[in-house]
């Protein structure tokens, strides 16, 4: 890999053009505008293309193989990828684990794991939730006990997005049962081919195996496969996300759903219908106002300001807006709302795809209910 240019010194326009050109010239023969996640075997060529260019980890510092982009430049990159309809790669390594290792990892861990994320040799999955620990994540029971030079892990993790694609997983494990629940959790790194691991894919409502559960039966990993100190995993896990928390509330999901709503209405023959338009423009105002609210956070990121708990407002409004649009799409599709296959073989015309893909957005990455609780306390200062 040759030395990357200093993208941050480019003008926004120049950088946008650079990204746009690269995508148009190098995007492999993959689906564009996919409404559900692609598996590693499909999306790998795109990951490797980005890896070879040095663009797979835009936010990592340049000295660690990243692009060192500012939030503003990163946003431009995301926008250009979205505009082209690039498939989302298995990005848990670049987005979640990398930044966490950079902050909490040992030099040995950084030296070993970061290059393997950059090359695509390691594909990571996130093992946080358990059957009894969803919204109440600190209730994790999957247990790790130090036995000689190994952690011995027993328990279960679930709702692991694309976990069946991964060859490594990081988990939150219970390492002390005698203290307050948040204080007895450790952050461990586990190879998926370790003896005692069983993976069970779970079909979602679209009948696709997008997530899975993983069972740990006396799985042994070396004692140094821990990030941070023992029992301090909760702090590390909570520190994650950074400006990803802003992007998760970006208006793009809703904006693209509006495009699909328009096409479905045109196909159904009442795009011109004034009653429909009344409802359409009401939603359009929501999308545009969300964009303006989103921009205020982007401005904060550009100015290097800290992002507070109030950023959850973006995700709550965006995910619920996406669902409302999807619900109108379902009505507009009339009797075709029940078809399993997309009309004209185009998923963008498929009401059910949009409706179903909108369902998890209010559940994963912090349920809307939990986020409203946090807002009530942290922002509105309401009593418990």
């Amino acid at each position: 890999m040759t030395q990357l240019p200093d993208y941050n010194s480019m003008s926004d326009k120049e950088f946008r053009q650079t990204v746009c050109n690269f995508v148009e010239e190098n995007y492999p023969a993959l689906p564009r505008y996919a409404l559900s996640r692609l598996h590693w075997e499909e999306v790998k060529p795109w990951y490797l293309t980005l890896a070879e260019k040095g663009w797979i980890c835009p936010t990592w510092p340049r000295e660690h193989g990243g692009m060192g982009l500012t939030a503003g430049k990163h946003l431009i990159m995301i926008e250009e990828f979205e505009r082209f309809g690039c498939a989302r790669v298995n990005d848990i390594g670049p987005v979640m684990l990398g930044p966490l290792l950079l902050k909490y990892g040992t030099d040995a861990q950084k030296g070993h794991f970061l290059p393997k994320i950059l090359s695509g040799e390691h594909v990571w999955a996130q093992g946080y939730s358990e059957p009894g620990a969803g919204s109440d994540l600190a209730a994790v029971r999957c247990e790790a006990v130090l036995d000689g030079d190994d952690w011995v892990i027993n328990g279960q993790k679930t709702w692991i997005t694309l976990g069946m694609d991964a060859n490594w997983i990081f988990i939150l494990a219970r390492t002390d049962k005698t203290v307050k629940k948040q204080a007895g959790i450790s952050f461990l790194l586990v190879p998926m081919d370790a003896k005692g691991i069983t993976v069970r894919p779970i079909l979602n409502l679209e009948l696709e195996a997008e997530f899975c559960e993983v069972f740990f039966d006396n799985v042994r990993v070396p004692a140094d496969h821990i990030v941070g100190s023992a029992n301090e995993g909760w702090t590390a896990a909570k520190a994650l996300l950074g400006h990803e928390r802003v992007f998760i509330g970006a208006p793009r999901l809703s904006a693209s759903a509006m495009g699909r709503l328009k096409r479905i209405a045109q196909r159904a023959g009442f795009w011109e219908d004034p009653v429909f338009r009344d409802r359409y423009v009401a939603l359009q105002c929501d999308v545009m106002d969300l964009s303006d609210l989103f921009e205020t956070y982007v401005d904060k990121l550009r100015d290097g300001e800290a992002i507070g708990a109030d950023v959850s407002m973006l995700k709550i409004f965006q995910s619920e807006l996406y669902q409302r649009i999807s619900e109108l799409i379902l009505e507009v599709a009339a009797e075709e709302s029940g078809l399993r296959a997309p009309p004209e073989d185009d998923r963008r015309l498929h009401a059910a795809s949009t409706y179903l893909s909108a369902r998890p957005t209010t559940i994963f990455g912090g349920s809307t209910e939990i986020m409203r609780n946090v807002l009530s306390k942290a922002i509105l200062d309401l009593p418990s």
Partner: protein, 348 residues
């Protein structure tokens, strides 16, 4: 005093337990998905033996002559059990054909479904008749590929058309719930039209019955969700103890009861003789409420189940996919709002 219809309805619901288990199990439904014609002919035969296809055939035509209240109560129970078989469509074929409903259908040997709709997204049904033949299309016919006979509705009356009639092509598509929906294409199919005075009324009855099916679907989905709220613990307590969820569950219940009240009051109006305007207005209102209430319940049911709600293995997912499939049959909400707007007293 127990009204007669309640006793009739109770007996029908009891006998329906042969095809819709009383314990709420939907295992049979899960296993039947995405196979063959999307429904089980053996179950249709059982339903025929139970006499359900004769409910809307008058007594002097060899049927039971039961009312819409009994019909709606039955449809509610079938909806709760996610019954995949096109029972309503067969029942309404009986209502159209009366004494002409073939003996083979009465015994369950053959399956009949109703083909009425000219175009997706519209309630028009008058198309197709040309002299003594049918031309054109009838769409959104449930279980069309697995049926033997069609009761085809046109402006000339009802025609009984066998699936293998010359000039008739049947195509089908898979639906989200694991069933199949069909389209009929007629190329000058020779038929005999049977005069039917009650086509519009039968379609209204069917719409009301379908609303009751949706209501039963939503009612059961709410029950399943309430059970989950009671059972699922987070933060050391059942999530049903959280007030924000309690309020939303209450809203679902209110909407459900509004829907139930509207449907059964409308069924009573239908049974006791209502003028055309009242019929048209009340059935549109019932379908509108049932559709919107059903989708409210499904949205909340998924959300309250958390990640379990977006899996295929949780039963609630079967309800969601069934609702997505069925909710817009007999007209999506906008069509019914349009009808109601046109029926306003000062509408010109």
């Amino acid at each position: 005093m127990t009204e007669e219809w309640i006793e009739n309805a109770r007996m029908m619901v009891d006998s329906a337990r042969a095809v819709v288990p009383g314990d709420g199990s939907v295992e049979r439904v899960r296993k039947t998905r995405f196979q063959g014609a999307g429904f089980d002919r053996e179950v249709m035969r059982q339903v025929a033996e139970l006499g359900f296809f004769l409910i809307r055939v008058e007594e002097d035509e060899g049927g039971f002559g039961l009312g819409m209240r009994e019909t709606c109560e039955l449809m509610r129970v079938l909806g709760g059990g996610l019954l995949p078989e096109p029972v309503l469509s067969s029942m309404m074929s009986g209502a159209l054909l009366q004494s002409a409903l073939p003996e083979t259908v009465r015994t369950g040997e053959e399956v009949i479904v109703m083909a009425w709709q000219d175009q997706t997204g519209s309630l028009s049904w008058a198309g197709g008749a040309r002299g003594g033949t049918i031309d054109g299309h009838k769409v959104n016919v449930p279980g069309a590929e697995g049926a033997d006979l069609f009761a085809v509705i046109t402006s000339n009356g009802v025609a009984l058309v066998p699936r293998d009639a010359a000039g008739l092509a049947v195509t089908g598509a898979e639906t989200l719930d694991g069933g199949r929906i069909g389209s009929l294409s007629f190329a000058s199919v020779d038929v005999e039209f049977l005069p039917c005075e009650r086509i519009k009324e039968v379609l209204e009855d069917a719409t009301l019955g379908h609303s009751a099916y949706l209501m039963g679907l939503a009612e059961r989905a709410l029950d399943i969700t309430l059970d989950y709220l009671r059972m699922r613990k987070q933060f050391g307590q059942p999530i049903g103890s959280f007030q924000s969820l309690q309020h939303r569950a209450t809203e679902m219940k209110i909407q459900l009861e509004l829907s139930r009240a509207a449907i059964f009051a409308t069924a009573r109006r239908f049974d006791t003789g209502a003028d055309p305007m009242t019929r048209a207005q009340s059935v549109a209102r019932c379908k509108l409420r049932a559709a919107q209430m059903t989708m409210l319940v499904m949205r909340e049911a998924v959300q309250m189940h958390g990640a379990m709600g977006i899996t295929d293995e949780a039963d609630i997912g079967l309800y969601v996919r069934k609702a997505m499939t069925e909710v817009n049959f007999f007209g999506p909400p906008r069509v019914h709002r349009q009808i109601l707007a046109n029926l306003l007293e000062d509408a010109s």
